[in-house]
Structure formats: C-alpha cells, structure tokens
C-alpha cells in the first residue's frame, strides 16, 4: 500500500540559514507517526511547509499518491490535512463555536445556522469531556481549554491526516489521556496522525512509528517499539546523554529549612479564581506550586509579581512588606517572573535575542540612562553559551528562533539579573529533553547558590523531581503543603484531587 504522505528531500532556508536540509517524512495510512527532535530541529518548519504556510526551497511532496503542492493552509485543509499548530492559533475575541466552526460553517437558506453550529461545537467538545459555554469568547477560557478547542476544531474537519504540533504542552495528564483516546479513535477510523511532542512517555503511549530529526535532517525512521528511550534521546541529540535520564532527587540547598523565607504569601485573594492562597519560599529552595489546570496558580503568582492587583492578603518579599504594585517594583526588589505564555507575554518578537535577553536588566546595565553595550554583549554571550541557545547570533530576531530556544532566552532574561526569587510558570513548556535537563539542573545549581525558586508545572513528574516542597492549590485555596518524603507523585495527586487538610493545618501551625 502506498503511503499517505511522502515528503522527500525537503530544503528550506530562512534568510540564508538552513532550517531543513534534505529532510524526509513518510506517513502510512492509519498510523500515528511521531515526529521528534531537539528544539530547532525543524519539526514545525516541516509541518508549515507541508500545509503551504512556507514555501520550500527544494524537495517533493506527495499526498495520497499524487504530487502535492499546497499554496496555503486553506488548500491543505481542502485536501484533507487538518493541523494544530504549535502556538495556539485561534481567534481570542470570538466565541468557542466560531473558533471551531470557522471555515466550514453550517448554513441554512444561505445564511449561518447558529443553533446547528453551537450544537456541533458542543458535540465535538463532548468527545473530550468538555462542557463549556460555547457562546463565550475563547479568551475567557484557560490555555488548556483553548488547546482542546484547537484540537476539537482540527478533528472536526473530515481529515485524512491530522497534524498535532505539541498539542500536549499545555495539557495536564487527565486531559492528555482524553486526547489519546481521541487519537486512537481517529486511528481506528483510518485517519493518520502526525504527533509532535517532547514528552517521550506520550510517544510510547500512542505512536506507531517515529521520525527523528536533527539539525534539519531526518536521522532515523523506525517503529517506535524497536527503540528505547535512550535510543531516541541519543538519536535526537546526536550523542549519549546519560545524565539527562539520570533522575537525581537532590533539590536545592539542604540547609534552606533554617532560613527566613524570602517570600511569604498569606491569604491571598485575586479576582474570582484565587480566594485564599498561602505559601512561602526560602532562599536556596525550589518550591513547586501544583494543581489542576485552572486551580489559580498563574493568577496567584501574577499577583505576587505585581502584574495583577490582589484583593486581599499579604505578600512579604525579602523581609520587607514594601508594596509591590507593579512588575517594576518586584523586579527592583529582586524577583523574576517567567510567564506561561511566551508568545503573548514573553518575547518582543521584533527585537534581537540580545535585546530580549537584557530587557529587564537594562536599567542596571545602564549608566545615567545610557546602555553599556560592552557589558550587555558580554552577558549575552555568556548566557547564550551557558544555556545552549541555538541562534544565528545575538542579533538574530527572537521571532525566528524555535519555541524552545525562545524559552531559554526568556529564562536567561531573569537569570542574568541575579534575582533573589525566580517564579517560573511552566518553564519547560515545549522544551526538548536535553534542554529540559539542562534547565532543571541550572535551576538547581542556582538554588544551590541561594536563589529561591517557585515553579509551576503541569508535569507532576517534573515538579516532584525538582522541588523540595510543594504547595497544592485547589479551587483557589491552598489545599496542602507537602515536604520531605511526602513529595511524591501519589501524594501530590491525592492532594490535588481531595485536598489534604492535615498538612494544610501543619503549614500554618
């Protein structure tokens, strides 16, 4: 049987810099095909070339046995290729229904049939166990729901091939399971799926075969069952990286318990979601903030950082309770905050890597308001090296970097400030295994030097691995505080689901 999709010898350069060099991708009918590789390996570019968003420099594509050259995503969609792009690409102001049905509206008498469309949207979302008001604008919902809407939209088309570029990066485990259920249904119906993810476990759960890319080349294609995790990582990184998979449970500085907290948050209330949240972070300690999606983690830390106005509660930072009314106050006091949505709230797309990296540091780099280019250059070079940021140079515009590398620049933005406290909201979202290990070990190293870290992650494994103490939020309340031996996935999961009143008492006792 001929494969559904063949991409052969694909070349692509951006402003002279090669992103793909003779890359290959073959997808059979009815298979779930994993596409993996380091950040910047060219996965997303490959996909965008397939759907006609970018034009390729060389190579052939055939789809369904025929040569195919789609000139726009619209074309590809018409041919039966439905895509979920890496960054959520929906229209935030419009309703959920519209986001799902745009492009294949139901009509009656030539006019839009709203009731039918709402019903369809509801039905599609029901496949993911989601029951929300589909009339409300998409932006009213958290990232995870938005991601599910994007997925629902994509499978709503009668597609032969569904492409998912990191669909799980903002989903929690329950939702990932639901998604896998849907993927299996698609497969059973004979639909092929291309699945991109940096989470190796997920690949083994649903994928049949894998294509591994490195530096714009296809380095290996094989049935997934034949490869071990180690093989995958080795092929991706082009070397053995034993330390990556070696999980050390050494979290931060062992003496930190004795120190005064650098941040103490008591009875914080923000908006509707956060009602009564308390936690603290000591110097040299990595504290995890766990909870289901929508538990109010992002809102809590935004308020701590001065990005939103808290309604009640006290935030004590570095011993003084100087009011933090704006992010600039927080930064001056020695806090850093890496937000969860790097596209909307992180990068300044048209600025260079250098400018993005030194954005928060600038006032310190400057003398009488004049930027000291020499020092800035030196710092930037140091961090590009240290974090292994893959870019053409510090003057490259950050929008041209792959998602993972953008994330590293944002991390560097805060690390270069020498902060007392670093708040990381989903810091490893979309980052490859190698880089994730590097970032986590960097965070640990910094904690070892006395930095307090507050980390939010939807990957339980990661929180448990990194943190020495975990606060669990549920419905806007601090439901539990876990430390020592209690820091393991089972107890966190239990606390997330049922709360853990005793440990909570303990926290305040």
């Amino acid at each position: 049987m001929a494969p559904l999709l063949t991409m052969h010898g694909i070349d692509k350069r951006f402003a002279g810099i090669p992103a793909l060099r003779a890359a290959e991708l073959v997808v059979e009918k009815g298979e779930v095909h994993a596409l993996i590789g380091q950040n910047g390996a060219g996965k997303s570019t490959m996909i965008k070339i397939l759907t006609g968003y970018y034009r390729k420099d060389a190579g052939e594509i055939s789809f369904d046995g025929k040569p195919a050259e789609f000139s726009s995503p619209q074309d590809a969609q018409r041919a039966g290729i439905s895509t979920i792009y890496q960054e959520i690409n929906l229209v935030p102001y419009r309703s959920v229904t519209e986001n799902i049905c745009l492009g294949r509206e139901k009509r009656r008498f030539g006019l839009l049939d709203w009731p039918a469309m709402h019903a369809e949207a509801r039905a599609l979302l029901a496949r993911f166990n989601i029951d929300i008001d589909v009339h409300r604008p998409l932006m009213a919902y958290p990232t995870a729901i938005q991601q599910m809407v994007a997925i629902a939209r994509a499978i709503g088309f009668e597609a032969r091939l569904v492409i998912m570029d990191e669909p799980t990066s903002s989903l929690d485990e329950r939702e990932v399971e639901v998604l896998f259920g849907v993927i299996r249904q698609l497969k059973a119906a004979g639909v092929s799926v291309i699945f991109v993810s940096h989470k190796l476990d997920e690949l083994y759960a649903v994928c049949d075969r894998v294509t591994i890319m490195r530096d714009g080349r296809t380095v290996q294609v094989a049935p997934l069952a034949e490869l071990s995790r180690l093989d995958l990582v080795t092929a991706m990184l082009g070397r053995e990286l034993t330390q990556v998979l070696q999980d050390g449970h050494d979290a931060g500085d062992p003496d930190s318990e004795a120190r005064q907290p650098v941040l103490k948050v008591a009875n914080l209330a923000v908006g509707r979601k956060v009602r009564d949240v308390s936690f603290e972070v000591r110097p040299g300690e990595i504290v995890g903030l766990a909870g289901l999606l929508g538990a109010g983690r992002t809102e809590s830390v935004r308020a701590v950082f001065g990005a939103d106005k808290p309604d009640a509660g006290t935030v004590t930072f570095a011993g003084s309770d100087n009011r933090i009314a704006a992010p600039s106050d927080a930064i001056r006091a020695g806090m850093g905050f890496c937000s969860e949505d790097r596209k909307l709230e992180g990068i300044i797309p048209d600025m260079s890597v250098r400018e993005n990296l030194t954005l928060a540091l600038m006032p310190q780099l400057a003398r009488r308001g004049i930027v000291d280019e020499g020092r800035s250059q030196e710092i930037v070079d140091r961090f590009i090296k240290r974090l292994g940021i893959r870019c053409a140079g510090p003057e490259q515009r950050i929008r041209e970097l792959s998602g993972g590398n953008q994330q590293k620049v944002l991390l560097a933005r805060w690390l270069c400030m020498n902060p007392k406290l670093l708040i990381l909201d989903e810091p490893t979202r979309g980052i490859d295994v190698g880089a994730k290990a590097e970032i986590l070990s960097l965070i640990r190293e910094l904690a070892g030097q006395g930095l307090g870290v507050l980390m939010i992650s939807s990957e339980l494994e990661e929180v448990v691995e990194a943190a020495s103490r975990i606060f669990v939020l549920r419905d806007g309340h601090t439901a539990a505080e876990l430390k020592g031996d209690a820091v393991n996935e089972q107890s966190v999961m239990a606390a997330m689901a049922h709360g853990h009143e005793d440990s909570r008492e303990e926290a305040h006792g």
Partner: protein, 325 residues
C-alpha cells in the same frame, strides 16, 4: 483586557452610544423649538446618510484591524464621476460613481494584500491619488449634474415621505448587519481582526476577505459620492476633507475596537447620528442667541464632546472589567 468582560465591554459600548444619542436628542427637544420637527429631522438624515455609508465601510475595515483614510476623497471622486455621467441617466450616474469608488477600493486592496503595505500608509497614499484624480477629471471645478435626467432624485428625492439617501443608507446597514452576523464572510472578517495569522492558519481565505472589505469600503464611499453629487447638484472634487476622521470617530464611538476583532454595524449607525447631531445642535444653539458661538468655540466644544463620550465609555468598560474579574 480581561477575557470575561469582552462581551460586557462590547455591550456597554453599544449601550453607551445609544444613551448618549438619546440624551442629546432629549436636550435638543427640550431646549430648541422645531428641533424634532419633520423638516429638521429629515434634513439631518438626508445629510448624514453620506457619512453613514462611509462609516459602514470603515466599520468593516476597522473590524479587520485595518483603516481606510481614503474614503473622503474617494467620495469626492465618486461625485465627480457620477456628475459627469448624470446626463446619460440615473443608472449611468449611479454605476459610474460606484465604479469609481470600487476602483479606489481595488487599488487599496491590491496594495495592501499584494505589496503587503500597511493599510494606514496605503490609504493615505490613495487618499492623495483619488483627490488628484477627482481634480483632474473635474478640471479643478465643481461639475454640474444634469437636472433633466432625474439623477438628483437620488439625493434630493423622497420615497414614502423619507429621503431617498436615507433609504439607501438604511438598506446598506441592514445588508451590512446581515453580512457581518449571518454569513461566513462576516465571521471571517471578525476572525481576521482577532488574529490574522491564526485566521490564515485556520485555513480561512484571509487575503481574499481583506481585499473584499477594502473593495466594499471603496464602493460605499463611491455610493456616498453619488449621493453627494445628487443631493447638491454637483460633483465636488474638493469635498470629503475630514470624512475619514468623522467615520473613524463614529465607528469608535459605536464601541468598535480599533485593534479589530470586535464590532457592530448597528452601533456604528448610532455613532454617526450622534456625531452628526452635534453639528445640528450647535447650529440651533447659535440660533437661541444666548451665546453666539464662533466657529472656534464650536470646534473646541466638538473636541470636548468627543472626549466626554470616549472617556465615559473608557471608564465604563474599566469599571465593568474590574467588576468582572
């Protein structure tokens, strides 16, 4: 903006402009004799129907996140072409003006979508060009329309006791509202304004729809030009100055966001009437003789009024935002 309040904001935008409009009418009714007399009401409607058409096109353009500065001179060009063709009958005049508007709209569409130049600068350029063409065609003078062909009925006539231009505007708004809310074209317009790149990746025909929106704006401006020629009996190459700003203000006062993605056709109409009535009210105020306002004070008052309306709207939406979060 906080997510949940979007609808509220939008609602208040619509609400605010209606309230302001009612308040203004009430003041006029209480304060001036004959303000709500048939003559005044109908002549205000007749005059403002041109602006209503231009603002309708602007509304669509702004919802896509763009802007069209060329509408004023496009209307002037339309009026000249219509006037030149009016001796051949009503239809040639009408179609001629419309075609002239569509031509400018097509230029805008091509430059914006093919050359990838931002709408602001594109339409700034076509504003100059349309005005130049109007002057060239008209040989720097107003062009008489033919009074024999019945062309002037399009501007000066009545139908069922209601001015013809007002009928035209009314129909245009009904169609516009229908298109925006009940066709996939309209939904795509809204999606493009919300996030153009996303719309494109979602497989929507973003380029085509954007082009059509500028085409429509040009066409509506051309139609306004036809009415201009018919209503005043002359094609006027130097008319239309400042119409674009009037239209933008009307659209914004109607609660449409200049960043695109949200908007309503109905409240744009209310915005047009609101801004149009201010001129009328100022004229009546002068007639009371209490204060004889100089033209200078009038512009100060108009500016202050615009400030008041948008400031109230801004406060309301901020309040709503706080309440919702």
């Amino acid at each position: 903006m906080n997510p949940t309040t979007l609808k509220l904001f939008h609602g208040i935008g619509r609400y605010g402009v209606l309230l302001a409009l009612l308040a203004l009418i009430l003041v006029g009714w209480l304060r001036y004799e004959n303000f709500l007399g048939a003559f005044n009401v109908l002549s205000v409607l007749r005059y403002n129907s041109m602006f209503a058409l231009v603002a309708l096109g602007m509304c669509f353009v702004i919802i896509t996140g763009g802007i069209d500065l060329s509408v004023g001179s496009t209307a002037a060009l339309g009026s000249v072409v219509a006037a030149l063709l009016s001796p051949y009958g009503v239809l040639p005049g009408l179609l001629g003006g419309l075609a002239a508007g569509l031509a400018v709209g097509a230029c805008n569409a091509l430059i914006i979508t093919r050359l990838n130049i931002l709408p602001f600068i594109t339409t700034l350029a076509t504003m100059l060009a349309a005005s130049g063409c109007a002057l060239l065609l008209a040989e720097n003078q107003s062009v008489s329309v033919s009074y024999e062909s019945g062309f002037t009925e399009l501007g000066q006539g009545d139908f069922l006791g209601f001015p013809v231009p007002a009928w035209i505007a009314l129909v245009a708004y009904l169609v516009g509202s229908l298109v925006l809310n009940l066709t996939s074209f309209g939904r795509t317009v809204l999606a493009i304004g919300g996030n153009e790149d996303a719309a494109r990746l979602m497989g929507l025909p973003a380029t085509r729809v954007k082009a059509l929106v500028y085409l429509a704006s040009g066409g509506l401006a051309g139609l306004a030009g036809v009415i201009l020629a018919a209503q005043f009996g002359a094609g006027q190459p130097i008319e239309g100055v400042g119409w674009e700003l009037f239209a933008i203000a009307a659209v914004v006062v109607g609660g449409t966001l200049l960043t695109g993605g949200v908007g309503s056709v109905g409240s744009t109409l209310a915005g047009v009437l609101l801004l149009g009535l201010i001129f009328n009210i100022l004229n009546f105020e002068n007639g009371l003789g209490w204060i004889s306002l100089s033209a200078y004070w009038q512009s100060v008052i108009r500016g202050a009024f615009l400030l008041l309306v948008v400031a109230i709207q801004a406060r309301l939406s901020m309040r709503a935002e706080e309440a919702a979060s």
